[in-house]
Symmetry: C2
Subunit: 314 residues, 2 copies
């Protein structure tokens, strides 16, 4: 029995150290170690190569470093029948809500407008609406969406939550399923995307969507915040909407191509706020703790938690 | 019996309409109306002229449009022995907390840094600390400070509250009195000023204060947010601190001279965020409702509320 790490673009040795100190006698291996593939019961994966899972016939689970598993589910030889466990973590949730609250409140307070005034040295007292007058619409009411929604409610915002299946959160107006999408958009001033990326949600942040958002409440027009995946957004549509006033501003943490190409117009639009996919990250400390406990519990006969539904896509 | 309005720089007629519809038969007068000064029991004042209170011998209270009464207390002929009532309002409190939350979270999320990176088209994934790692220090724990503190605690921040007398708020570390000021600053990453402006607090946001803030937790250095009065800040010190790295950023809604003079360096500092005294305002709707109810209650024999302590200065 052993855990194999298969990680790219992160410090694999640092992760191994964390796992070793959390797992005690349970073997933690890197691909460069020598081992019998039949001993490997768990693979902890991030950006795995195409042959990552070949020859492992006794896998009990694949553990995914990221909270989003859209890329992993596209893997060409992901072993069928092996459960995939995704990362669900309080610190990850905290960081995502931090990003959402910072983005929503800066737009509610008309940041773009005042930044433009400051640049032109204009003193013009247009009062931002109170949070109580603004509706935030959250797409995706999983662990991340629910936490952000609760915090926004507590700050005084009206909050709409749109999800595939109905979720109850105190103070949040519920919209479930495709047939409610237009009504949800029509009641929303600031749209926040926290959806998983699936065939159904790819490209959902497009011009037709933006046109359906409510106008007249937030001075300047509606706003879009995307903290989920670049695949959700059509960047040509965002640019058009920011330029023609369909959107007054956008905060984007993710992009169709990452890093965002140097020639993207998004870098220079003054009402677009670009961050380099740093809304919420999986820390080594918390990730190793979470997956080590999961592995030990599972070896002791307990069921896995946060297992991905491959059909649903998250 | 009558209420006299004495307002400058705002729409006095609109206020009169609001008061008339709230007060029914109780007379509401403007200075341009004819009246017997002995009938005036209440004066509702904003930026009153030097002779504003001369010849009124039956005043029962002066009602102040603003939540801050520092300017009114400097009035050269403010009648002694007449209570001054200041504006305390849920919407004003909501708006102030909106401003504080937006300012604190943008700095916690390293907004200045990412704005500079965006301008230079740099993709560099430095992760902001979670709110749980950051301490916000609030100076002034009146109605505004307490509401902002509660909301920051709920978002996950560590919160320190500094005030003249000890105030208990769940989850907030209390500091009371001058002798605790250095310890308060030394435990604070983001300093938020919501103090009343008095002889004791004038100029409190100065270079020596900034030097005592905690370094090493918030990437780039500590931050100052001033939403109270321009008289609290020494702008030459803020500029020096922003330029030499003592402060990593500042959000200023108030200034020594308002409107902020065109030649102020604050307009062009890229880590200084200027807004034109719009953090929180007294709306006609809420102000007329609040003071009308106060007046009717008082005429019915109930005590005034939110009466200013002239000695203390707020």
């Amino acid at each position: 029995m052993a855990l194999l790490l298969h990680l790219a673009d992160v410090n694999e040795h640092a992760w191994a150290e964390r796992f070793r100190s959390a797992l005690g006698n349970y073997p933690v291996l890197l691909r460069s170690d020598s081992y019998d593939p039949d001993d490997i019961r768990y693979i902890f994966a991030w950006k795995p190569s195409d042959d990552a899972f070949d020859g492992f016939n006794h896998l009990k689970a694949v553990l995914s470093l990221g909270a989003g598993v859209d890329a992993l589910l596209q893997h060409p030889r992901l072993p069928e029948g092996v459960p995939i466990v995704r990362f669900v973590d309080d610190e990850l949730t905290q960081c995502m809500s931090d990003y959402v609250i910072a983005s929503v409140t800066m737009h509610q307070r008309l940041f773009s407008r005042y930044a433009a005034h400051q640049k032109a040295r204009i003193w013009s007292q247009l009062y931002p609406p109170p949070a109580t007058a603004i509706s935030v619409g959250i797409m995706g009411m999983g662990q991340l969406g629910v936490d952000a929604a609760r915090k926004l409610v507590m700050l005084g915002f009206k909050v709409n939550g749109w999800s595939r299946t109905e979720k109850h959160v105190d103070g949040v107006t519920r919209y479930a399923g495709d047939e409610t999408f237009d009504a949800f958009l029509g009641a929303t001033d600031i749209l926040v995307n926290l959806l998983p990326l699936t065939a159904d949600t790819r490209g959902i942040l497009n011009y037709a969507t933006f046109k359906k958002l409510r106008r007249g409440t937030l001075i300047g027009g509606p706003v879009v915040v995307n903290a989920a995946r670049g695949g959700h957004q059509k960047e040509a549509d965002i640019i058009k909407a920011l330029e023609d006033g369909t959107l007054s501003a956008a905060s984007l943490d993710v992009f169709e191509t990452e890093p965002l190409p140097k020639d993207s117009p998004l870098w220079t639009l003054e009402n677009c706020f670009v961050t380099p996919h740093i809304a919420a990250i999986s820390s080594e400390r918390n990730g190793a703790r979470y997956f080590s406990q999961m592995l030990l519990d599972h070896e002791a006969g307990k069921p896995l938690r946060n297992v991905v539904d491959r059909e649903r896509g998250y």
